[in-house]
Each structure stands twice: as C-alpha cells, then as structure tokens.
C-alpha cells in the first residue's frame, strides 16, 4: 500500500491518471502532449516515463504492447484498498465514541 500512496503523492502523476481516466489507452507521446498542451506541465518525456513506472509499480497503470506500439491503461483496482480501509460512514449515524 506504501507504493500506492507514494504514487498518488505527486501532482503530475495525479494529472496522468486524470488524462488516462478521460482517454484510455494512450501512448507515452500522447500523454506528454496532453500534459504540455492542457496542463502546462513541462516535464521531459523521460520524467513522464519515470512517473509511469511509479504508477505501474503501484498497480494504477498497466502497459500493454499492441503490435509495435506500447499503450498505457488506467487501473483503479488498487484504490479500492483505500475505501476498504476507511469505509465511508453513514452521515446520519452519530460518530462512534461521541455518546456521553
């Protein structure tokens, strides 16, 4: 789970996930084009590639070789660990330990 939080702790990596959520899959070039053109993020291609490696280690991105091209997919499955660990509470219920 440490990898997951580390992966999410960077704004550029969160924007990469946003862009993959909007359009999936994408090549490295397309991701770089979107980061520069839509978000003004001037990271080098190599830096974006390293961000993708971190996201892939956390299981949030999968890369797939399709013919001669390499595509990157979003995988939100690891995020379910967060909801399982801290499940949303029913807002109508009184907070635990708050009763006199």
């Amino acid at each position: 789970m440490t990898d997951l939080f580390k992966a999410l702790a960077d704004e550029t990596r969160r924007v990469i996930l946003d862009e993959l959520a909007e359009h999936d899959p994408q090549t490295l070039f397309e991701l770089c084009t979107r980061l520069i053109g839509k978000h003004g993020i001037q990271s080098s291609r190599q830096a974006v590639s390293q961000h993708l490696d971190v996201l892939e280690a956390a299981g949030l991105v999968r890369s797939e070789r399709r013919g001669r091209y390499k595509f990157h997919h979003l995988d939100v499955t690891p995020l379910q660990q967060i909801a399982r660990r801290w499940p949303p509470r029913d807002p109508a219920a009184p907070p635990k330990g708050d009763t006199p």
């Binding site: 359009h23 839509k38 001669r68 390499k70």
Partner: protein, 129 residues
C-alpha cells in the same frame, strides 16, 4: 539557404510511394534510380514548389532500432500540416489508416498520429485560425 527536401526512412520504397501518394494525397515529384534503390520525392499538390519529402530506404543498421523505439512510445517522426485534423482523421480512417492517437486538442492546436505502414508514425496537425 532553404529547406528543399526533408526525409523519412521507409521500410519499402514502393509501398511508401503508394501510401504517401495514394492514401495521404501527396504527389510524385521525382523518381529515378539511385544505386540499388530509388530517389523518390513527393510534394503537396497545392504547394508543388514547396519542400519535398524524400522516401529514403531504412537499410542502415542503425535505422530499424531507432524507428522501433520511436514507434513504441508513439512518437511521430514527422509532422504535416492539415486544415482540419478531425476531417482528415475521418477521411484517412475510412481508407483503413491506423491511428495510434485520435485528434487531441489543446488550445488552438489539434493533432493526431497515424502509422505510415512503412515503419513510422506521422503527426497531422492544425492551428485554429
């Protein structure tokens, strides 16, 4: 000094000539024997005096790994201007052209990336006026 020609490395010169003229819509500018290969150039039909694109053989051993690495990451080797990327995307897709990037707009700039069937990715791009 002027840029009279620029080039792409193509896996098969005849196949490339067919694609760059028959599909993309450039017109033949020159075609003559050059050693074991041919010197082939194409040019935009609405700018016949413009920069010519040389369809150069990729037989130097350094070329295939270079091309493969670019293609894997979706990086176009060249970028050509079109009036309307979306219209050109639809036209070329109907002709069976493979796109690795659908049109993406960021501000006034729109671009898409296609496979030239000869080992390269080519970007088509437009700036909204």
């Amino acid at each position: 000094m002027r840029i009279t020609t620029t080039s792409v490395f193509v896996d098969d010169q005849q196949k490339a000539l067919d694609f760059y003229t028959g599909t993309l819509g450039f017109q033949l500018a020159s075609d003559f024997p050059a050693g074991e290969h041919r010197w082939i150039t194409v040019v935009a039909p609405d700018a016949p005096d413009g920069t010519q694109l040389v369809l150069e053989p990729s037989d130097h051993p350094a070329v295939p790994p270079f091309k493969d690495a670019l293609v894997a990451d979706g990086i176009p080797f060249a970028s050509f201007g079109v009036d309307d990327v979306n219209a050109e995307y639809e036209r070329l897709r109907a002709l069976g052209v493979t796109f690795v990037q659908e049109p993406v707009s960021s501000g006034p700039f729109t671009a898409a990336v296609l496979d030239d069937t000869c080992g390269n990715l080519i970007q088509i791009a437009s700036m909204a006026s």
